[in-house]
Amino acid sequence: MIVLGYILKKEFKQIFRDKTIIAMMFAMPTIQLIILPLAMNFDVKHVNLAVVDHDHSSYSRQLISKIGASGYFNIVAAEPSFQQAITYIEKEKADLVLEIPADFESNLVREGTQKLGVTVDAINGTKAAIGGNYLLSVINDFNQQIPVNAGRNMPSGAIDITYSNWFNPLAEYRFYVVPAVLVLLLTLIGGFMSALNIVREKEVGTIEQINVTPIRKWEFILGKLIPFWVVGMIVFTLGLGVAWGVYGIWPVGSFVTMYVFAAIYLVALLGFGLLISTYTSNQLQAMFVAFFFIMIFMLMSGLFTAVDSMPPWAKLIANLTPVTHFIKVIRMIVLKGSGFADVQKELVYLLLFAAGLNGWAIFNYRKTS
């Protein structure tokens, strides 16, 4: 225990002596947390639409003006033919083309059905898909008004679905994205710092001097883990401050629950970094290995895509990364106010990760080769 004290003293001194590292550790998450969520806006507005109206009837004009008035679309062109309209997509001036066939009005009134052509630019998949959905819902809405306008008793959609976004009533992306970005930054900083640390001692050669002392393996690993854990908790606190100050996000749930999870998550994550450190022999290798895993963490943790809609094998991988569980818990606590009882399973997962990864790192660290 006394020996651990000396190791900690040394590690803290080394971390806090390097002013650049300090700045990187604290300025980077603050700035990124301010910038990234603003850019990661999943709300789609200003979808550019080119319209081809072959009908020129009052119904077709009503539909077009309704689309224009919805607030989601800019009608960038009205062209007489589809061939001309599609050039707008080709030149990236439009995301969608809406084609209204001739006899739109008469078919609607006479037969009660009509087909519309919607062409989307699938290069910017998200925008076009969401824009396409918006367009469909506007058309759908229009559809339901027709019988009223026509003054006839036509059967329209019998089941009317209305959404409400529970826990995030305005469906604001920031409530969803900010906590996840915070987790991501914590993961990046914690993961890289710990992954590069032991390996740097290997590179400089000081590890040899450590290995020839009677330091116990667990003392050495704990001595590396604790300082980064403290740094991680500071970064986390800083991030919560930014979330509140900049985005007005104040967690619905308890801070205690959140900090308990953050504490355990960090132990797991740092254990992972140290494990990489014990397997690699220089900083470049450690960097690549850490990068490989952190990419997977980022893309599979449910930050960008819902884990529930992944194929089973991907879901399995997602569940095998600690990040997935932590993002889930943080979102639940921040948005929903979940307590310990609701997130017990995640707690067990994270504890297993923490014990497993650190145990593995201690096991794999060899003082004698």
Partner: protein
């Protein structure tokens, strides 16, 4: 009978088909300055790493300070000091911080650390630099500091791997004064070197060629045996037949 602090018998380290150390046997007495010579790649560092508990031998037997190199590496580590070929104190810690850290890790009580480090800094003439980062010191001072840190916890044996590489002749001389002083307190010195004048300072010298011990005796006896005027000639006669070279 003299106390043996290191005993090696047929010690071997093999990497694939390559015998880095091939059945070496020798004994080192307590308080002795034991020189370990050999060309680059002869296997000196590998042998030394085994004796320090940093590497397991492939076969053969060895004990250091009475502890087995297979099973009791951590017990060996408590009883030795080690100064590697590559400078390995922390460059981003100060002189005093380095001393405190390594002293603490070896279990020297904190009051004792303070007392001894004051003396040490004074003796090395580093009083003005005590609070400077080690990275900013010139090489000669770094090496003297590294040696002092290696014996700070008063180990029974200290292993020095080419401690004077790249150091000027005056500092080298001072370094050997420090070695003699440590030996006088009963610390056994196990030292590798490429400088043949330094070999003359040793009580006994081993010359390794291609992983094997080719000669082991006092410098005077070796010179007589090989009919040479100095250790340089002895070394040359033995090492020119070497098939391995380079690190």
């Amino acid at each position: 009978m003299e106390e043996k602090v290191i005993v090696c018998k047929d010690l071997t380290k093999r990497f694939g088909d390559f015998y880095a150390v091939n059945k070496i046997s020798f004994e080192v007495n307590k308080g002795e300055i034991f020189g370990f010579l050999g060309a680059n790649g002869a296997g000196k560092t590998t042998a030394m790493r085994i004796l320090c508990g940093l590497s397991y031998p492939t076969s053969g037997e060895a004990t250091v300070a009475g502890f087995n190199v297979y099973k009791q590496t951590e017990a060996i580590k408590k009883n030795i000091g080690y100064m590697s070929q590559k400078f390995s104190l922390y460059e981003n810690l100060t002189v005093l911080e380095n001393i405190e850290f390594f002293g603490g890790v070896y279990g020297v009580p904190s009051a004792e650390i303070r007392k001894r480090s004051d003396n040490l800094v004074q003796k090395l003439g580093l009083t003005a630099e005590a609070k400077k980062l080690v990275g900013s010191l010139p090489l000669g001072w770094k090496q003297k500091l590294a040696f002092s840190v290696a014996i700070f916890h008063q180990p029974r044996i200290v292993f020095l791997d080419e401690p004077t590489g790249g150091v000027d002749p005056v500092t080298r001389r001072q370094f050997w004064d420090m070695i003699y002083e440590a030996a006088a307190t009963g610390i056994t010195i196990f030292v590798t070197t490429h400088y043949m004048d330094e070999a003359e300072y040793c009580n006994r010298v081993t010359i390794m060629v291609d992983g094997k011990v080719e000669a082991l005796d006092s410098p005077a006896n070796l010179k007589a045996q090989f009919k040479a005027n100095n250790m340089d000639e002895v070394f040359y006669q033995l090492a020119r037949g070497a098939k391995r070279s380079g690190d």
